[in-house]
Amino acid sequence: MADIIMPANMENFDRLMDFIQIEAENVGFDKKLVNKIRLACEEIIINVINYAYPDKEGDIEIKCNSNKNGSGFFIKIIDWGAPFNPLSKPEPDINAPADEREIGGLGIFLVRKVIDKFDYIREGNNNILTLFKYFS
């Protein structure tokens, strides 16, 4: 299991994203899938950086590993902020013309498209979001 923990701020954004990229590459995803995993994780990570700790600094932890039967790869993104499930936002209307497009919700829409399974739980004072991608 690969694991990192650090303060949830934009200064650490590149380190967090590099970690995910390296771990996804290490388990053998091709470039296209690594990019999709990165895209999904970026969304969740940005939510934590921007919203988890409105009043003070707090940490973000990322754990990732292949699952027990080797069918895929899971990434857990953990924070200690107020209860918040980013997957509960409504989806945008992707057929709306440009001037009517809602800017919000697009990111989570993309997470749902590229990730095979996801799960949110509130455990103690943690938000734990798990993203799962099959190998193929």
Binding site: K32, I94, D99, R101, G107
Partner: protein, 106 residues
């Protein structure tokens, strides 16, 4: 932070050259440059994307924003984007607000 884009405005055409990653950290700087063009006489915005390796929803939002803020009757072009980037653009549906091409002719 390295600059991953350049913006050039001439003869009613804005040319934006993108490279590397257009992600949540880098997209705000591009949004700021585009804000400076609000109110100017613009017919087209051309994104040159052959060196763009990665785009996230933050990058897509700046593209949508450019059309919403500068004028919804302007034409948007995405030139030379890689298959991975086009895949994300199509998933999001914003291919509906732009023309996707391999080359751009003046």
């Amino acid at each position: 932070m390295e600059t991953n884009f350049s913006v050039n405005y001439k003869n009613k055409v804005v040319k934006v050259t993108l490279a590397g990653s257009l992600d949540a950290k880098r997209a705000p700087a591009l949004a700021d440059e585009i804000k400076k063009l609000i109110g100017k006489d613009i017919e087209k915005i051309v994104f040159f994307a052959k060196d763009l390796e990665y785009i996230s929803s933050a990058g897509l939002r700046v593209i949508i924003f450019s059309k919403q803020k500068i004028g919804t009757d302007i034409k948007l072009y995405m030139v030379g984007a890689t298959a991975d980037v086009l895949d994300v653009i199509r998933m999001s549906g914003i291919d509906n607000i732009m023309e996707i091409t391999d080359i751009y002719e003046e």
